[in-house]
Symmetry: C2
Subunit: 321 residues, 2 copies
């Protein structure tokens, strides 16, 4: 049943349904600009600030769409996922809004702050060993025990339709964009952008931005099939996960190009954004600016939307300290 | 002549003139809220985010008012000040907007980043020794040489009328505030709040928030006369300067109370704001939240405006690292 669900390709209509459904539970996030960053890039940059989103990340959109799309009967059994990142926190947030149980399976080695974030919204954290086999075994047990609905962090049509609402807002907030740049990990946000723009603004270019040290999407895109890395290592820790079938569908068909940046370029871009926009955002969210600054031949003179995906960063472990 | 200017008490009309004058040169900054910070404080908090202001601080308001209020003849000779903080940067910003020279006298020991910020807007930095006598001598020389108009960081009616526009915006953005809390150093922002609220919302309480380790305003307020400390030491480095005649006029007459917070409380409040509001702001701007959390008996159940004064912080030297 999970497999079938993941094969359904969400549509523009699904995005519109999602938007109506999640409106009470999410923020319309602001778009910020900086004259100095425009001068530096030669482009006009419009930062869509999902770091200000509920639970601190765009993933509140997809999670809310999945949770509020459940029938009452399904909802009563709760939701479950495996994620040591923003999806777990955001699913817990959405479940709390609906008043249903949420279980998140996490490696016992995950940072305590991530576990606290899930529990802060009333979610339950179940620990597994830091291996795929342990995670799958523990997760199967949870689902068998509770009957909870699995909400995958990105390979889920409900999640993608939810993430797609972000770019729908952006193009209403900023007129005449030439391109949108978003970080790519599993591809949920990028798939959402593809979904929306291919339907309502097909002339707009879509760039995915990825760390050089976790460039599996870049290599997949060039190779024409999914390549999953074993254990990539990057400061942009939200971007380590591989593409899956559903996100690959969107990425291979509708992304203009995938651009990469080095660790150092990512950290420098992150500092620039903190310093100039005065916002707290994650290393993953800095990858787009890093690639824009690196590729003036693509972006100079253009109006460019930049997705700032989230703001959940450990202030005690900033990457430049 | 400087003395005469500083004796004039700015009025509500001056604030309105300032507002019209500076509108093209400043942002109407957003007001942010956080459900979690509301829960923690028991109050409804409305953060007026001057960290997003032009040049990164509310001081762009007062500086712009002073600069754009000059006659063409005065303006041609430029402006000058002594400040190793935001006022120097903001005066340089305003002067650039008008296309006139700006000179900022700074101790040679001031951080290079502060000098760079002034120069980044085209201002000239002139170094003095880190002593009052050297600063005054060097500054007198600059004025004699250029005929530049002195714009004091806060003891200046034009500057106070400019800062007063911030609270005028705030009370239009948020209805029914019971109180406003702002950090106090020299008292420019607080005087501006007094000016505006005493005129248009006299029932609203005004609290000034100060570091325990630089509590000269607190002691002045209790004593009934200005007490200036010699060299206070606090992480809230924007708040080390003493009250002066003009700001004392407002503070002693119209401030409801002055509340203090320890260094540790300030740093904890700063982290809370970064973490929950996802904004980059200065230690000085965290003092209000620190005092609010410390005094629930004053603020519980109230709608409270909190002035986030600026966002110019050295990311390489965060106070919790």
């Amino acid at each position: 049943m999970m497999k079938e669900a993941s094969m359904y390709i969400p549509t523009l209509e699904d995005m519109r349904t999602a938007r109506a459904r999640i409106t009470p539970h999410i923020y319309v996030t602001p778009v910020l600009t900086s004259r100095m960053l425009d001068e530096l890039s030669g482009a006009e940059l419009f930062f869509k600030c999902e770091n200000f989103q509920k639970a601190g990340a765009f993933k509140a959109r997809g999670a809310s769409n999945a949770v509020f799309g459940l029938s009452d009967e399904q909802a009563a059994r709760g939701v479950a996922t495996h994620s040591s990142g923003n999806h777990g926190t955001c699913l817990s947030y959405a479940a709390k809004q609906r008043g249903i149980p949420c279980t998140v399976v996490m490696p016992r080695t995950a940072p305590q702050a991530k576990k606290d974030a899930v529990m802060g919204y009333g979610g339950r954290v179940v620990e597994c060993e830091p291996s795929t086999s342990s995670r799958e075994a523990v997760f199967a047990e949870i689902v068998a025990e509770t009957g909870a609905e699995f909400v995958h962090p990105y390979n889920d049509h409900r999640v993608i339709a939810g993430q797609a609402t972000c770019s729908a807002e952006l193009i209403e907030q900023v007129e005449g964009l030439d391109a949108v740049v978003a970080p790519i990990g599993g591809g949920g946000m990028v798939s959402g952008i593809c979904l929306t723009l291919s339907g309502v603004a097909p002339q707009m270019k879509i760039y995915a931005a990825e760390p050089e040290q976790a460039d599996d999407a870049f290599r997949s895109f060039k190779a024409g099939h999914i390549i999953a890395d074993d254990a990539p290592n990057t400061v942009a820790d939200g971007l380590k996960v591989p593409l899956k079938k559903l996100t690959w569908h969107f990425v291979q068909k509708q992304v203009t190009d995938i651009l990469t940046a080095s660790e150092n370029e990512i950290v420098e871009a992150m500092k620039l954004i903190w310093k100039r926009l005065k916002i707290v955002m994650e290393p993953s969210s800095a990858v787009p600016l890093a690639t824009i600054l690196k590729n003036p031949q693509i972006f100079a003179g253009k109006r460019v939307g930049v997705i700032v995906t989230g703001g959940n960063v450990d202030l005690d472990k900033l990457p430049w300290n």
